[in-house]
């Protein structure tokens, strides 16, 4: 296994450092509204990073991660909704306290990940991709059926606070730094995990599953644990996303969202963790730049994606690390 290169660590730290000062820069340049875009880069970058963990290190190509994004959004969103109108959810009162809703969303994501992963991992290859996609669609339809939260139209939560402990993070810049702190913490944790004994087993399963079994590993358990961990983090990102947008709708769980997370990972660079965040940054930047010029920016995302698949399969990180190597 490639050991983490100096360049890789430098790239991770460098990009996160850049991201940490980005709000100051957009503020100074008079485009303060872009802070919310940066927050979305952080949130969806977190989801893409956790997808990269199962895909780039675990070799499990999931086309169903939007299900977990949706699960987190609906856990946090539903609690917030009930706190707004004072009703109860399954007998418990709602809350807009993210110190409650976010961890709860993480737990829900882990459990859903155990169920979906537990079933999907009975299959492999193309089957696995199709199974995760199908489960994604199932979750999507379930959310569509939740009339109480507006069915397929969704429901606004605009009156809700963004309460983080005693702190009211309704200010966009404050909220950005809250999300950014979560991202940094999980980036550190995931980077530790991929180098841990557990991470080695997961990477070994990607490389040669039959051989891992012959060494005495119960591969299913480790892959399932990795999948559930990723699902939990993606679900947390979903909760953060709904707190950010203050609008709960099934579109979080749409299958194309799964595809877009995949795109972020590949654009950024598979198997690098930070690549997911870089990819999210590139995608949102492209959207922001092109939205004034054309409504059809997805068309160009498609074209660009084809170019990357055929021309630069290691993504932006690969390109950046390649540049780094040539100076080595």
């Amino acid at each position: 296994m490639r050991s983490p290169s100096r360049w890789h660590v430098a790239l991770t730290v460098g990009f996160l450092a850049l991201l940490s000062v980005a709000p100051l820069w957009v503020d100074a340049s008079g485009r303060g509204y872009l802070v919310t875009v940066l927050t979305r880069v952080v949130i969806f970058g977190l989801a893409a990073m956790s997808l990269d963990f199962v895909m780039g290190y675990g070799g499990m190509v999931s086309l169903g991660h939007a299900a977990f994004l949706g699960a987190g959004a609906y856990t946090a969103g539903a609690l917030t909704y009930h706190s707004l109108d004072g009703s109860r959810l399954l007998g418990i009162p709602g809350t807009d306290q993210t110190l409650v809703t976010w961890p709860l969303a993480t737990v829900v994501g882990a459990l859903l990940g155990l169920v979906i992963g537990g079933l999907s991992l009975r299959t492999k290859g193309i089957y696995f991709i199709m199974a995760t996609l199908a489960f994604n669609q199932m979750i999507y339809f379930l959310f569509n059926a939740l009339e109480i939260y507006g069915g397929d139209d969704g429901v606004g939560l605009f009156a809700a606070r963004r309460a983080i402990g005693p702190l009211d993070a309704s200010d966009d810049t404050v909220f950005f730094y809250v999300c950014f702190a979560v991202l940094v913490a999980l980036a550190v944790i995931l980077n530790l995990v991929v180098r841990s004994p557990f991470g080695r087993v997961v990477r070994g399963c990607r490389s040669n599953m039959a051989r891992m079994a012959a060494l005495g590993y119960q591969t299913y358990r480790y892959r399932l644990a990795a999948f559930a961990l990723s699902a939990a983090i993606t679900s947390l990102a979903g909760a953060m996303a709904v707190t950010e947008s203050q609008f709960l709708s099934p579109s979080f769980a749409e299958w194309t969202e799964s595809g877009e997370l995949l795109v972020m990972v590949i654009v950024g660079g598979l198997g690098s963790l930070i690549g997911g965040v870089i990819g999210a940054g590139a995608l949102f930047l492209l959207e922001e730049l092109s939205i004034d010029i054309t409504d059809n920016w997805q068309f160009f995302v498609g074209v660009g994606l084809l170019a990357i698949v055929l021309g630069a399969p290691r993504g932006l990180t690969g390109v950046l690390l390649g540049l780094g190597r040539s100076h080595d």
């Binding site: 296994m1 944790i189 004994p197 991470g199 080695r200 490389s207 012959a214 060494l215």
Partner: protein, 249 residues
């Protein structure tokens, strides 16, 4: 003492019988070779002993305990290890990381999430010792894809030995090796017999007759002869089988 044995082993794919009422035993301290022409069912037999394939009928015992229902990973923990025909080590890992991964499989579990795997000093040391044993100490930090074919075969054996097995199943360890490399590997296998019983599937007859304590001959899934090398050499059935095989081939 009998380490690994089987009785009445039966396996068919569709209508094709590949293992036919097979009975075998591997005694401690011995190298038992399993030979036979191509398609005789040697690898399939090995796969049923290791737990990769479930037999249609029959029983497998390890040290007197019925292990027929144990899965491949469970049998590894019980003491059956195997190497593969096709070198199947992890090509991006270094030689030492490969062995470390094999050693780590013997921990009760690997749900350890934070401490870097590379910092387990005891394991690093044991990996070094195993590499030393198979003669790969010098290339321990070389990524496997840069090793020679012979070296990857040696590494396979180091990984199989990591579980400290009672029985080692070797599937054609010499395949594709240069004669001098094969000779060194044969010596290595002989030296292993002190620590573990060996069941060896091998095509190279020179190697088989020089290292094996006992030889069993498989033909169309069934055992047609079993005995020490001299018996086998003198056995008319075996002669006919190999002569006919040569005539056809």
């Amino acid at each position: 003492m009998t380490e690994l044995s089987c009785q009445g082993l039966q396996k068919a794919f569709g209508g094709l019988v590949v293992t036919d009422d097979l009975a075998l035993s591997v005694e401690s301290g011995e190298i038992h070779a399993l030979i036979g022409p191509n398609g005789a069912g040697k690898t399939t037999a090995l796969a049923q002993l290791s737990g990769e394939l479930r037999p249609d009928a029959g029983t497998v015992w390890l040290d007197g305990a019925d292990i027929t229902d144990l899965s491949l990973p469970q049998r590894v923990h019980a003491g059956v290890a195997r190497s593969y025909q096709v070198s199947s080590v992890f090509r991006d890992f270094t030689a030492r990381e490969n062995v470390e991964l094999a050693l780590q499989a013997m921990d009760r579990h690997s749900f350890r999430f934070f401490r870097p795997a590379a910092r387990n000093a005891e394991r690093v040391e044991r990996a070094g010792a195993l590499l030393e044993l198979v003669g790969l100490a010098e290339v321990s930090i070389v990524p496997v894809h840069r090793l020679s074919h012979g070296q990857t075969r040696q590494l396979e054996i180091a990984m199989a030995m990591a579980s400290d097995p009672r029985v080692l199943l070797l599937d054609e360890p010499m395949a594709g090796m240069a004669p001098d490399e094969a000779l060194r590997l044969a010596e290595l296998i002989q030296s292993l017999a002190a620590a573990t019983a060996v069941l060896l599937v091998e095509h190279d007859m020179d190697v088989v007759f020089s290292v094996a304590d006992r030889i069993s001959v498989l033909h169309q899934g069934a055992l047609i002869a079993s005995g020490d090398p001299d018996d086998i050499r003198a056995d008319p059935d075996v002669h006919r089988l190999y002569l006919r095989d040569d005539a056809e081939g």
